[in-house]
């Protein structure tokens, strides 16, 4: 037996990246996972290098970020890559989740649930990171989001001040946000390892939605080369996007230092939070909005409940399920657009309808495999 199959540590790597039996028919939709791993590494490296030059103090944070990007060697590139990297992280995570819903990846409960947990922590990490440059939008995003805690009955007001470390968002908030923003990516990394560990217990799903046990190829030389090829395509697109549009995606307000006395006319999060933001604002009650926001993500956990007896999963077995899927996708785009609109009369009503349809589509999609299985067994 060769060394790579016997060494206690190397054999783990071997069974993950070299000899892993993989389905022979994986499409490009099975590349998002490895791309997410790459983006995670990019974010970790650029983030740690940026942290060596950053001051987590409310008096100096803004100036230190400006100094990074106009005075240090290629500091501008690090900062641009880190900020567009966050966007690509969410782009791939949405594609990855979309792939999972389409092809029914939730039948692997551990893999699915850890994945949703990674997504949740990632949202937190991205929010914390957005606060760090301490521009106007950073400050007011922190204010709006931390204020959501105050909707919790009885404990809310105490918890908000506990999170702030004072009576408003201020220096203690920024400092702890920096510490957490540094910590959470490592938690994500640990969860990613678990995610892959559990995935390899089951083996990857494949576009046909049936067992691929009779048709496997080894990972190395097929999917290692394919992943590397897609990595290079990504690098190209990513560099062009970063260098051409890097600043276009930064909010103009965030080039103004944080000022607690001036509220920006139009507060909005980055594009990847807009759908959740639209759901939050669409519900007139504050607590209701916060619950809606949480449920919008937590509803994903529901998909993995009691999937062991399912005869069908995903959407490929049924045109109705595919229709639901694409309705959900367009609903997601609609919510994203509504999140960027001002909270005025016509948008509010549309947002409320879109929120209701979002949950309807989600819950129906979740229930459909169970209903189909039930009807099939009965017929």
């Amino acid at each position: 037996m060769s060394f790579r199959k016997t060494h206690p540590l190397i054999k783990i790597v071997n069974s993950t990246l070299v000899d892993l039996p993989s389905p022979a028919n994986l499409s490009v939709n099975w590349n998002y996972g490895s791309l997410l791993g790459l983006v995670l590494v990019i974010q970790l490296i650029t983030g740690i290098v940026l942290a060596t030059r950053f001051s987590g103090h409310s008096d100096m944070s803004f100036d230190s970020v400006i100094s990074i990007y106009q005075d240090s060697n290629y500091g501008w590139l690090l900062r641009l890559v880190h900020s567009t990297g966050a966007s690509f992280f969410f782009l791939f995570i949405y594609l990855h989740i979309g792939r999972g819903l389409y092809y029914g990846s939730y039948v692997y409960p551990e893999v699915w649930n850890i994945g949703v947990l990674i997504y949740l922590i990632l949202m937190g990490t991205a929010f914390l990171g957005y606060v760090l440059p301490w521009g106007q939008m950073s400050y007011w995003a922190a204010t709006v989001i931390t204020n959501l805690l105050s909707a919790i009955p009885w404990l809310g007001p105490t918890m908000v001040e506990w999170v702030w470390g004072g009576f408003a968002v201020g220096n203690p908030t920024l400092t702890r946000f920096f510490a957490l923003h540094y910590l959470l990516p490592f938690v994500v990394t640990a969860l990613v390892i678990l995610h892959i560990f559990y995935l390899h217990i089951y083996g990857s799903s494949n576009p046909l939605g049936i067992s691929s046990n009779t048709n496997k190829v080894s990972f190395h030389y097929y999917y290692s080369v394919k992943d590397l090829y897609v990595y290079f395509v990504f690098f190209f697109v990513f560099m062009v996007f970063t260098l051409k549009y890097g600043y276009v995606f930064m909010d103009a307000e965030n080039f103004i230092p944080a000022n607690p006395l001036v509220t920006p006319t139009h507060i909005q999060p980055e594009w990847y939070f807009l759908f959740a933001y639209a759901i939050l604002r669409s519900i007139p009650n504050k607590l209701g909005g916060v619950v809606g926001l949480l449920l919008a993500v937590l509803v994903l956990f529901l998909f993995s409940v009691s999937t062991s007896k399912l005869l069908f999963s995903g959407t490929i077995y049924s045109p109705l399920a595919r229709l639901l899927y694409w309705s959900l996708v367009s609903n997601f785009f609609l919510l994203t657009w509504l999140g960027s609109c001002p909270a005025e009369s016509p948008y509010n009503e549309v947002a409320l309808v879109a929120t209701v349809t979002y949950f309807t589509f989600m819950l129906t999609m979740c229930a459909l495999p169970h209903i189909s299985t039930y009807l099939y067994l009965k017929s």
Binding site: Y222, K244, S327, L334, V353, S379
Partner: protein
């Protein structure tokens, strides 16, 4: 398995109709609502101007940056600070090192404390930021009727559609339309949010004289100072554009080679044939 849905044809059609109607009407309504609003509500949308640096691989026009610095120094700097732009940034961009040193030396900077513990004034050095007209924001507000002139170092990024907006704003002053009441101490400018801006029109033909002899028309002044402010917002811009060009030169050949290699690796797998021969013992599954 498709039998299931054939037998439920009515329910299926109903569901399809309902789902697509909701989505379509939602999207249609959303698009219909996304119409332009009245200019007087939110300010005119600036026209798109052909900035040279907007090109994919184009740098700033450095002669224009230099003229823009002259405009800033002689007109804007009376009210606006540029805290994040230092004299050393001018070296090799719009000024020689000697010129930048001379520019810096014109400013008096408070430094100290010295050995006796007193603050003192000294001529500026390359490591100093451009001088601020007011000691602090409160003084700036007091001198400008309560309105704070914003810091200009990052202004091209701190406003939506930065360069076009700044150019339009600087050249957009005119008399208010008939029927609009004149506001005391404010000036009418349709490009400013709300239409009334505290800053008076600052750029007129020949308000300064360029050292390089370019005719100092109003639009030339506005264009040059906008280019200068754009440079100040992103001093690494030229380097970025060069890297973009290198990306476009290096990646396509690598990708082409990698594509061929990937296809080559997959040839065997893609061209094989799988045969399924059901036998009595294995092929009784219902499908």
């Amino acid at each position: 398995m498709f039998k299931l849905f054939k037998s439920k044809k009515v329910a299926k059609n109903l569901a399809i109709g309902l789902a697509s109607a909701t989505t379509a009407s939602g999207l249609g309504l959303a698009l219909a609502l996304n119409v332009d609003l009245f200019a007087s509500d939110h300010g005119c949308y600036p026209a798109k101007y052909p900035w040279f640096h907007d090109g994919l691989f184009n740098t700033y026009d450095h002669a224009s940056i230099r003229r823009g610095y002259e405009v800033y120094k002689q007109v804007c700097s009376a009210c606006h600070s540029m805290r994040y732009t230092y004299f050393r940034h001018l070296v090799g961009v719009s000024h020689t090192e000697d010129e930048a040193k001379a520019e810096a030396a014109e400013a008096m900077v408070t430094d100290g404390p010295n050995e006796e513990g007193n603050m003192y004034q000294r001529p500026g050095k390359l490591s100093d930021p451009l001088p601020s007209p007011y000691p602090n924001d409160e003084a700036a507000k007091a001198a400008n009727g309560g309105a704070l002139p914003p810091d200009l170092s990052l202004i091209a990024f701190a406003r939506n559609n930065g360069t076009n907006y700044i150019f339009s704003l600087l050249t957009g002053y005119h008399d208010p339309p008939a029927g609009v009441e004149v506001k005391e101490g404010l000036h009418y400018n349709p490009y400013f949010n709300g239409g009334w801006i505290a800053m008076a029109k600052a750029l007129y033909d020949e308000v300064i004289e360029y050292t390089d002899g370019t005719p100092a028309t109003e639009s030339q002044l506005a264009k040059d100072v906008t280019e200068y402010l754009r440079w100040s917002s992103e001093k690494s811009h030229d380097e970025k554009k060069k890297l973009l060009l290198k990306t476009f030169l290096i990646f396509p050949p690598i990708l082409a080679l990698f594509y061929v290699y990937k296809r080559r690796v997959f040839t065997v797998m893609k061209s094989r044939k799988l045969m399924f021969n059901p036998t009595k013992s294995s092929g009784s599954g219902k499908h």
